[in-house]
């Protein structure tokens, strides 16, 4: 017999809303409020998955997040999601579920043949067996092994749903809405504390939803509903379907809200999931406890289930796991499951309890119902193929274990309870080592290292009255600590409570003669009791070694039902106590978190923000091919039809050299440096002098790092006695600003200087070429462009169509050129006005490739040469460095290492044959018979003026090799060219063009 649904009952079910779903294409009936697990039991499904390694049939074992077996793949297409616990899936109409790790079907899994070899599949089996014959052997075998063993597969299709990020600030966060969570929240809210309550399940209430007792005279589930209503009326934010999965420094809790997981697809405009970062002044951890299994032979057979899970399925979903059920327990609490099942007409075949006595209430309950209680007995084995069919009992003695004798009892289900493990995951993440509780034979939270208090079953308060009382006290304590008058601290009264009674630490019923099959500890990773003893024999005794050697607790359930049992077995094998064997620290996440929730909205085009210049739309409208420079988008070139890149940039370069072109340089970093000490500040941060720079002039500046290497370059314009406009490279705009702000804040707080990024304030363009001045004259009539009135490096302000503009006569290209700055809102209009003004004389827009080619021809350095490993002298700018002042980097720039003549230094390189030089080439002195790289190409271009490819490079010894022929080779791309070492300035060496 299998599980079934009862005709009535189920406090989470809505029988008026029948649903249909499929498992492996088989139609299943359900009701709204069902989990996939409850519905599968109701449909009589026993086998829901195959185990990871041995492909053993597995059924539903638990009812919540601790479920180790029932992993499903849900949905199809882009929404397909593997490894979802059936116990956490809310069924919706049309849900498509598939079982995992089986072929061709759950019922007939050919890989189950691995079970025949199971005796060999012990811990470390693969690594011991598949290491030879060669070093590559493991690489070969691994792929096959991984195919045979596994979980579900992720889809390769993009996820169609949205995910959100959100932040929550709250006075108190309560994690868990069971009796302790609700009692603490009620006490705090009634006393005026602002509370947020998260509950991982769809309905708040936790264990209250299955408690048979009365709270304040009404059924516990009803009391939970009233408590939630009161909390909402008091303004408490209740967040169902929200799992707090990580506890971080500063009382920050990470949580995932499953907004739409219970729907076929999200409602319009709603996300699939929402990730919350919650900052709470205080946190209440009312996380409850997991029931602990007992290891015995065949304990993984479908039909074996935790007792509390069966009780929960009955109370919430009106389903029963079978119709002839035995209970194997070593505590009083689990009797509630047998009583509840008996009371709805299910046959309880036997209750097997290794203890010699039970509590009076339990004894009365057994007697009243006429149940068959067998004290001082244990279950040594469960028998069956795809489902349990019988159990083997044996007399049991706490000191000696299972003894000969006993009998075989036919059952279709076995409920197991070995005790309770407090859920201490969040407390462990934000606290000291867990503390062993002898009464519980488990661990409770250790020292709080953040502002949390654990309460209720999470601390071992297993009774309903104990959890409610502890919660209320915790709430009152926190309310008082937060400065609220705590007047309303009533503890709810409980009738019909249950206690656990004596709970001896029984973790395994050992089959000493090995008459029966394997006994499992970690179901999901197929770790057996023998694996743990093997780990001990082979020396992997510390819990950390045990975990890694056997993979105990490393599956997707992270050992929620197996860690303590495994630890206890290792302690027993070593002959030490459980606390002496230790426990591992829990790490986030408490339960698996989807990548989508972590990524949030930052996916696809929104992965990184796009930063656009004011002239962006013009570039796009002109057909520019755009490229990314950091977050900025810049035009690479403006192809003429299908013109390829090289033809395009060479055309643009030629037009600039022969006429006039304009390039968008809005992305340059711009910093307003202002204050009475601005000049002194620049003197300290630049390697060259700025003290004598007159107002209305710009100067090229070199900035070094503290270690003497070049950091950045750019021009700085003196706008007034106390104000400068500093420009930086696009890439270093942020780092330079940080560097300068740090210096002001940490080293020179006495300097009266303010730094403000004005990168976005100014739209900037460079207009270059012999006709650039002609264009400017057409639209700017309040600046005298005469060579003497506006000389090279001059800075002037004027207006263009009424817009204030700031001009500096600078040249990156080597041609006569000006940079034109205006307010960013007017950038597009100023750009268009200049393009229009230059139309008759053939102005063009040029992109980054031509900009780079122009500077290479001129020998100007840029990011490829300022690579963090070069000094000013290395790039031919050594003479700029002042010897008369102290500045950042001046001391360490004097190091002998940086003065060595064989350092890599800037040179020009010219292709001897005229063939293309790969920009990634190394430089080799083939004539010397030396294949060692003695330098590399940093940037290259075709130079129409020189009729060949030219490049800049960094070469050991630099200009000492002038005229020498080297081999530039890029073995990756198969390009080898003979080059001649030249001066890096290929055109206009005397600067007459730009000085014009």
């Amino acid at each position: 017999m299998t599980g079934m649904r009862l005709p009535s009952g189920g406090n989470c079910l809505d029988r008026s809303r029948p649903l249909q779903f499929t498992l492996d294409s088989q139609r299943m009936a359900a009701f709204a409020g069902d989990t996939a697990a409850s519905a599968l039991i109701a449909n009589g499904v026993s086998v829901v998955g195959r185990s990871f390694k041995l492909h053993r049939p597995r059924g539903i074992f638990a009812a919540g997040t601790e479920e180790p077996n029932a992993l499903l793949t849900l949905r199809e297409g882009g929404r397909q999601e593997p490894n979802v616990k059936a116990t956490e899936v809310e069924v919706f109409d049309g849900l498509v579920a598939r079982s995992q790790n089986r072929w061709p079907s759950l019922g007939l899994d050919v890989m189950a043949a691995t079970g025949l070899a199971a005796p060999f599949f012990s811990a470390g089996f693969y690594y011991k067996t598949f290491m030879g014959p060669s070093q590559k052997a493991w690489m070969f075998y691994e792929r096959i092994i991984r195919r045979a063993a596994g979980l579900g597969a992720a889809t390769l299709q993009p996820d169609p749903d949205r995910y959100e990020h959100a932040w929550c600030f709250t006075d108190v966060l309560v994690v868990g809405s069971g009796p302790a969570g609700l009692a603490s929240a009620l006490t705090m809210a009634r006393n005026g504390v602002q509370v947020t309550l998260v509950e991982q399940e769809p309905v708040p209430g936790g264990h209250l939803l299955q408690e048979p007792g009365l709270v304040d005279g009404i059924p516990a589930a009803e009391w939970a509903g009233q408590a939630v209503t009161e909390l909402e009326s008091l303004g408490v934010r209740i967040m169902p379907r929200t799992t707090a999965w990580g506890y971080y420094d500063g009382n920050v809790i990470s949580a995932v809200e499953r907004v739409s997981d219970h729907l076929a697809e999200p409602l319009p405009h709603q996300p699939r999931q929402r990730h919350w970062t919650i900052r709470a002044d205080r946190v209440v951890l009312a996380t409850g406890a997991f029931e602990r299994p007992i290891a015995f032979a065949g304990n993984d057979l479908p039909g074996v289930m935790l007792a509390g899970a069966a009780e929960r399925y009955l109370a919430r979903h009106a389903v029963v796991p079978g119709q002839n059920i035995a209970l194997f327990t070593c505590n009083d609490m689990a009797y509630g499951a047998a009583f509840a099942l008996h009371d709805v007409g299910i046959r309880i075949a036997a209750i097997i309890d290794p203890r010699d006595t039970v509590g009076d209430d339990v004894a009365t309950g057994v007697a009243d119902r006429g149940l068959d209680l067998r004290l001082q007995q244990a279950v040594v084995a469960a028998h069956g193929r795809k489902r349990i069919g019988s159990i083997q009992t044996a007399p049991f003695d706490i000191a000696r274990g299972a003894l000969p004798g006993g009998e075989r009892i036919a059952v279709d289900s076995l409920l197991v309870s070995g005790g309770f493990n407090p859920v201490i995951h969040l407390a462990s993440q934000a606290g000291g080592p867990a503390v062993f509780d002898r009464a519980l034979q488990s661990f409770v939270p250790g020292e709080a290292r953040e502002a949390w208090m654990a309460t209720g079953a999470a601390t071992g308060q297993l009774t309903l009255a104990g959890a409610l009382g502890d919660g209320a006290r915790t709430g009152a304590e926190i309310a008082t600590a937060l400065g609220h008058r705590t007047v309303a601290t009533a503890v709810p009264s409980v009738t019909g409570d249950r206690g656990p009674g004596a709970m001896p630490g029984i973790f395994e019923i050992r089959d000493k003669q090995k008459k029966y099959g394997k006994a499992f500890v970690d179901f999901q990773h197929d770790v057996t009791v023998d694996d743990i003893r093997l780990a001990n024999r082979e020396g992997f005794r510390s819990v950390e070694h045990l975990k890694r050697y056997t993979t105990l607790g490393m599956a997707t359930d992270q050992g929620k039902t197996s860690n303590i049992v495994g630890l206890a077995l290792m302690a027993d094998a070593r002959g030490i106590s459980i606390p002496d064997a230790g426990t591992t620290r829990y790490r986030p996440p408490y339960t698996p978190v989807s990548i989508g929730a972590l990524a949030g909205p930052e996916v696809g085009a929104a992965l990184r923000p796009r930063r656009l210049t004011p002239m962006h739309d013009w570039h796009v409208a002109q057909g520019a091919e755009m490229m990314q420079a950091g977050l900025w988008f810049r035009p690479r070139y403006y192809p003429d039809g299908a013109e390829p890149l090289e033809a395009g940039y060479v055309r643009e370069l030629s037009m600039v050299r022969g006429g006039v072109g304009m390039v968008d340089v809005s992305t340059l970093g711009k910093i307003d440096v202002q204050g009475p000490d601005a000049t002194a500040f620049l003197e300290r941060v630049y390697a060259n002098g700025f003290a004598k720079l007159p107002v209305g002039r710009a100067r090229y500046g070199l900035m070094l790092r503290e270690d003497g290497f070049l950091f950045d370059d750019g021009t700085t314009w003196r706008l007034s006695e106390t104000r400068y406009l500093m420009t930086t490279t696009t890439a270093n705009a942020g780092p330079v600003m940080q560097h300068l702000e740090f210096l002001l804040a940490a080293h020179w707080p006495d300097l009266r200087v303010k730094l403000t990024s004005v990168t976005e304030q100014w739209a900037a363009l460079a207009i270059a070429g012999p006709k650039s001045r002609d264009v400017l004259r057409r639209v700017i009539d309040d600046i005298d462009f005469d060579n003497t009135a506006f000389p090279f490096m001059g800075v002037r302000s004027g207006t263009l169509n009424g817009v204030d503009v700031l001009l500096a006569r600078l040249s990156f290209s080597g041609e006569m050129a000006y940079e034109v700055y205006c307010g960013a809102h007017s950038g597009a209009a100023v750009w268009s006005a200049l393009m229009q003004a230059g139309e008759q004389i053939g102005i063009i827009a040029y992109g980054m490739e031509a900009l780079g080619a122009l500077r290479i021809e001129k020998g100007h350095v840029a990011g490829r040469e300022l690579n963090g490993r070069t000094t000013a002298a290395d790039v031919g700018l050594g003479r700029m460095v002042s010897a008369r002042k102290t500045f950042i980097g001046s001391t360490l720039a004097q190091r002998a290492y940086l003065q060595q003549p064989d350092r890599e230094q800037l040179v020009g390189l010219s292709s001897v044959s005229g063939t293309r030089i790969s920009p990634s080439s190394h430089l080799i002195d083939a004539d010397a018979g030396d294949a060692r790289s003695i330098g590399h190409v940093t940037a290259m271009t075709y130079s129409p003026e020189l009729g060949t490819y030219v490049a800049l490079g960094l070469l050991e010894g630099g200009m000492a090799h002038l005229g020498k022929r080297l081999t530039a080779t890029d073995p990756v791309r198969g390009n080898t060219v003979e080059v001649e070492v030249t001066d890096p300035c290929f055109i206009d060496p005397d600067g007459s063009r730009m000085h014009g």
């Binding site: 932040w167 409602l267 970062t277």
Partner: protein, 187 residues
């Protein structure tokens, strides 16, 4: 002429109308609109001029919003243009520094009862118990973009973002606002 030369950063990228989830017949819980302040001016002072600046600035910047961004650092936001020049005239270098940022930022006004909820989707800011009261401001980050927030009143904030990020920022905010439903109004 000068106004005709200006292109406001959100123009054409924030189409007026109702968007996102339908919220019934009442007013949309959120309203978004581009703010187009004529002036955004950063003002700083020196450690020994803090008291003097705190007295002088409110007198110089009448009919403006003064955002207190950091010790010795303010923003003056005003409808009128030319505030930077006025402040430069009143604040000599010995007192402090004045930087015109009027073109450096795009500004989005978010208003409506769901404003705090929308903010909780995009910014890690604590709105509890008026920790950020009307008139208050904060500098923070959303989706890698720096944001300066000015709380105008209980249900209204202005968000200032680097001009270059305007479109990414608008996409980010509108995606977050979809679930609530929002109305875009003209600036």
């Amino acid at each position: 002429m000068v106004d005709a030369m200006k292109a406001w950063p959100m123009a054409g990228h924030l189409p007026p109308g109702d968007h996102g989830a339908r919220t019934g017949k009442g007013d949309a819980p959120l309203t978004l609109s581009e703010r187009r302040p004529g002036s955004i001016v950063e003002v700083g002072c020196w450690p020994d001029t803090l008291n003097r600046m705190q007295m002088v600035l409110p007198q110089l910047a009448r009919n403006t919003a003064i955002l207190d961004l950091a010790p010795g650092r303010w923003w003056v936001v005003a409808e009128q243009t030319g505030v930077a020049r006025d402040l430069e005239r009143g604040i000599e270098p010995g007192l402090g520094a004045v930087v015109d940022l009027s073109d450096a930022r795009a500004a989005l006004r978010v208003s409506g009862p769901a404003m705090p909820d929308l903010i909780s989707r995009i910014l890690p800011l604590d709105f509890r118990d008026d920790r950020l009261p009307p008139g208050g401001s904060a500098e923070t980050v959303t989706a890698h973009m720096n944001v300066t927030l000015h709380r105008v009143d209980a249900t209204t904030v202005d968000l200032f973002v680097f001009r270059g990020f305007t479109r990414s920022f608008l996409h980010h905010v509108q995606e977050a606002a979809r679930g609530f439903g929002y109305r875009v109004t003209s600036p």
